[in-house]
C-alpha cells in the first residue's frame, strides 16, 4: 500500500492568485494523478503526472491553468493558476494504478 500526504488540506484564496498543492507518496510509484471533485459530484481527472516529462491533460484542462510538476517518483505538485470562484473545489492526488489506487485526503480550495 501507499500513503499519500497532501497539503495544504484547505485554503481560501483571492481571485487572480495561484495556489500550489503538494502531494508526497511514501513509496516510489509509477503513476500519479490529479483530480478535481465538486461537492456531491464524482472525481474528474485533470491530468496524469509523468515523472520527468510534461503531464498528460484530459479534455477541458490545460497546462497554463493547471501546471503540474513531477520531479521524482514520490512527489508531485499541482498549481491552480489565476484562480476564479469557479475553481473552488476539492483537489485530490492519487498514486497507483487502476487495480489499486491510493488517494490523499484532498485539498479543499475556496476562491473568493
Amino acid at each position: 500500500s501507499a500513503v499519500i500526504s497532501q497539503k495544504p488540506s484547505r485554503d481560501i484564496c483571492q481571485r487572480g492568485t495561484s495556489l500550489t498543492i503538494q502531494c508526497q507518496v511514501d513509496s516510489q510509484v509509477t503513476m500519479m494523478f490529479w483530480y478535481r471533485q465538486q461537492p456531491g459530484q464524482s472525481l474528474t481527472l485533470i491530468a496524469t503526472a509523468n515523472q520527468g516529462s510534461e503531464a498528460t491533460y484530459e479534455s477541458g484542462f490545460v497546462i497554463d491553468k493547471f501546471p503540474i510538476s513531477r520531479p521524482n517518483l514520490t512527489f508531485s505538485t499541482l498549481t491552480v493558476s489565476n484562480m476564479s470562484p469557479e475553481d473552488s473545489s476539492i483537489y485530490l492526488c492519487s498514486a497507483g494504478n487502476v487495480n489499486e489506487a491510493f488517494f490523499g485526503q484532498g485539498t479543499r480550495l475556496t476562491v473568493v
Binding site: 499519500i4 509509477t30 503513476m31 494523478f33 483530480y35 464524482s42 472525481l43 474528474t44 481527472l45 496524469t48 498528460t56 485530490l92 492519487s94 494504478n97 487502476v98 487495480n99 489499486e100 489506487a101 491510493f102 488517494f103 490523499g104 485526503q105 484532498g106
Partner: protein
C-alpha cells in the same frame, strides 16, 4: 476504458445486506472490475477487485457473472458507517498504467 453504469443512490437499514450492481457491457477481455468507497471529506479507497465468479474479503463480496457484463458489490450487515459513495471501475490489468476514470458512483445511505 469500459463505461460503467450504477444506480445513483440507494437507501438501506442497519443490519441488512446491500447489493449494488454495476453494468459494464463493453468490458474487455483483460479488464478487471474494481470497487472503491468514498466517505465524505476523504479520498476514495480500494474495497475489492475481481475478474470473474466471486471474490470475498473482510469488507465485501464481489459477484461477477460468466459474461462479465455486470458485477454486484455485496456489503453484508451494513452499519451507519457504511454510508458512502461506491464507485465501480473497469480497467485493463495488462496495461497497469491505465488512467483511472471514475463514473458517477452510487450514493449509499444507511438508515438506523
Amino acid at each position: 476504458l469500459a463505461k460503467t453504469t450504477q444506480p445513483i443512490s440507494m437507501d438501506s437499514y442497519e443490519g441488512q445486506e446491500v447489493n449494488i450492481t454495476c453494468s459494464h457491457n463493453n468490458i474487455a477481455t483483460n479488464d478487471y472490475i474494481t470497487w472503491y468507497q468514498q466517505f465524505p471529506s476523504q479520498g476514495p479507497r480500494f474495497i475489492i477487485q475481481g475478474y470473474k465468479t466471486k471474490v470475498t474479503n473482510e469488507v465485501a463480496s464481489l459477484f461477477i457473472p460468466a459474461d462479465r457484463k455486470s458485477s454486484t458489490l455485496s456489503l453484508p450487515r451494513v452499519s451507519l458507517s457504511d454510508t458512502a459513495v461506491y464507485y465501480c471501475l473497469v480497467g485493463g490489468a495488462l496495461n497497469r498504467d491505465d488512467k483511472i476514470i471514475f463514473g458517477k458512483g452510487t450514493r449509499l445511505h444507511i438508515l438506523p
